[in-house]
């Protein structure tokens, strides 16, 4: 049996990682909650964002954290354009088409990354990548602490935007009542594109927060997106609070099962939670009643 200190340290590290997972899930759940589609390109877009961080770092020498505003804006624009010019028009208003279009997009993006960067696994080392904070008896990776802080701050900003701004209110209105929203002069196409853009911007921020400690390759997206799906299902499809809480829970579960079952089996706990959630609480912790 492990000492309490080791377990608490694993718990803290799990929470820190979980916060970034939550940010990836936030983008997914936001798009699902408003457009009512599963964005299959979410993972590939995360991989693209991570390579973008790497690329900008190599070209301009910018620290990943400094890149956050830049990449968030670029990926917001990318997401807006993708929804407005590709996904929307190609789907002709049918959900099953959107599914296929986003799946196709993910294949295109992954292969572009393969062609552009090769299949090697890369990482980005910063001064703080391996530095730690000593908090009492516990050692916490600095990059993970910064990452969690950044993820929580981003989530708080997004929440403020959705609850306070007119555009945010329009997004929530369209999520539940498209026709009612149109009749107030809200352009549903614009709101869809803004939402998709916000989802991509979340990924860009997550990529900046991930790279100092996590590696990247063109297929890395699927690993995160599986975790993100579990979080979204656990938290409740479309629920932002659910995504945040679900992310933290999944982070702790991964860290604990890694501790007790061995690092390579760490993800078993996540999928156990996934199956349990589907069996016993299919609407998730904060999901709307069916």
């Amino acid at each position: 049996m492990y000492s309490a200190d080791i377990i608490i340290e694993a718990l803290l590290n799990g929470l820190l990682t979980g916060a970034i997972y939550a940010l990836v899930a936030l983008g997914l759940t936001l798009v699902y909650g408003v457009l009512h589609i599963i964005n299959f390109a979410h993972g590939a877009l995360l991989a693209a964002a991570m390579f973008a961080v790497l690329f900008v770092n190599q070209i301009l020498g910018l620290d990943p954290y400094v890149q956050i505003p830049l990449l968030a804006v670029i990926f917001f624009g990318l997401g807006y354009g993708l929804q407005r010019l590709v996904i929307g028009p190609a789907s002709h208003g049918r959900d099953e088409n959107i599914l296929l279009v986003t799946l196709g997009l993910s294949i295109i993006i992954e292969n572009l990354l393969l062609a552009g960067f090769g299949s090697d696994t890369r990482s980005l080392n910063t001064d703080y990548s391996f530095a730690v904070f000593e908090v009492g008896p516990y050692l916490l990776g600095q990059a993970r602490v910064f990452g969690a802080a950044g993820a929580l701050a981003t989530a708080a900003l997004l929440w403020l935007f959705l609850s306070r701004s007119d555009t945010g209110k329009a997004i929530r209105a369209v999520a539940r009542e498209k026709i009612g929203a149109s009749l107030q002069g809200i352009s549903v196409g614009h709101v869809y594109a803004v939402t998709f853009g916000l989802g991509c911007a979340c990924l860009a921020v997550a990529a900046c927060l991930l790279l100092p400690t996590f590696y990247v390759n063109p297929r890395i997206g699927s690993a995160y997106v599986l975790v993100a799906f579990t979080i979204v299902v656990l938290g409740g499809m479309g629920s932002i609070v659910g995504a945040m809480l679900g992310g933290l829970i999944i982070g702790v579960v991964e860290s604990m099962s890694g501790l007790f079952l061995g690092e390579s089996l760490g993800q078993i706990g996540i999928f156990l939670i996934f199956i349990l959630a589907l069996l016993f609480k299919p609407t998730g912790l904060f999901g709307a009643k069916a």
Binding site: D166, R172, A175, R176, G180, L183, Q184, G185, I186
Partner: protein, 233 residues
């Protein structure tokens, strides 16, 4: 104010509107009557830009609205309170009203909010509540209040009496009358023929996608065919 000529529309291979001619002048209450499925709601959807017309013209305040987006139509002052209310159940009463001024009259939001609360004190009592938890009558008040937030030039009310108790229907029609007395032009789309004709100055009866009877409310009420079909006389 609103002039519709030869308006045709439909879904897929089904033609719903087969050439509607009608108009609403400034300051009028015009009733658009007809039973379920004759095309009343489709007409509203076309007027609000949610369904594209297949033919005919729509002019509002001298401007053509055919092919305009819902946002452009809202901005021009043609506001619809839709059938089934279509309020935002996941949002508070205040947020619902605020979104009423999303596409028009945004600078006057605070003042208009006070006006709506003066008309519907009930909504002010419920201000913090989620719209989905309101009673049917309150939801209808909220839907109309949301419409008023945009300072409409013409307000289209689609079945405002639907699902309300007889007492509330009386109240709703009295309210429509007083809104009109304050100068608002209203197009009242209803199945409730008797009460609508008491309120309206003119009326159109739609049957099978066409205007079957048109004229002053008194003449429409006296029409033998209307009396036979709708009143069973």
């Amino acid at each position: 104010m609103l002039e519709v000529e030869g308006l045709r529309a439909g879904y897929g291979s089904v033609e719903i509107l087969r050439g509607i001619d009608m108009k609403v002048e400034a300051g009028e209450i015009v009733a658009v009557l007809g039973s379920n499925g004759v095309g009343k709601t489709t007409l509203n959807m076309v007027l609000s830009g949610l369904v594209r017309p297949r033919g005919g013209t729509i002019r509002f305040c001298g401007r053509s609205l055919a092919g305009a987006s819902p946002a452009e139509i809202v901005a021009s002052g043609l506001i619809q309170v839709p059938e089934g209310r279509r309020i935002f159940p996941n949002m508070g009463v205040r947020e619902n009203l605020e979104l009423g001024s999303y596409g028009r009259a945004k600078p006057n939001r605070a003042a208009n909010l006070e006006k709506v609360f003066a008309i519907f004190p009930r909504l002010k009592e419920r201000i913090g509540q989620f719209a989905g938890t309101l009673s049917g009558g309150e939801q209808q008040m909220l839907a109309i209040g949301r419409g008023l937030m945009a300072e409409p030039k013409l307000l289209i009310l689609d079945e405002p009496s639907l699902g309300l108790s007889p007492l509330l229907v009386e109240e709703m029609f009295a309210l429509i009358n007083s809104l009109n007395a304050d100068g608002l032009s209203i197009m009242l789309v209803e199945q409730n023929v008797v009460q609508s004709l008491e309120l309206a100055g003119r009326a159109y009866v739609i049957e099978n996608g066409e205007v079957a009877i048109a004229g002053s409310a008194a003449s429409v009420a006296a029409d033998p065919e209307l009396r036979r079909t709708y009143l069973g006389l």
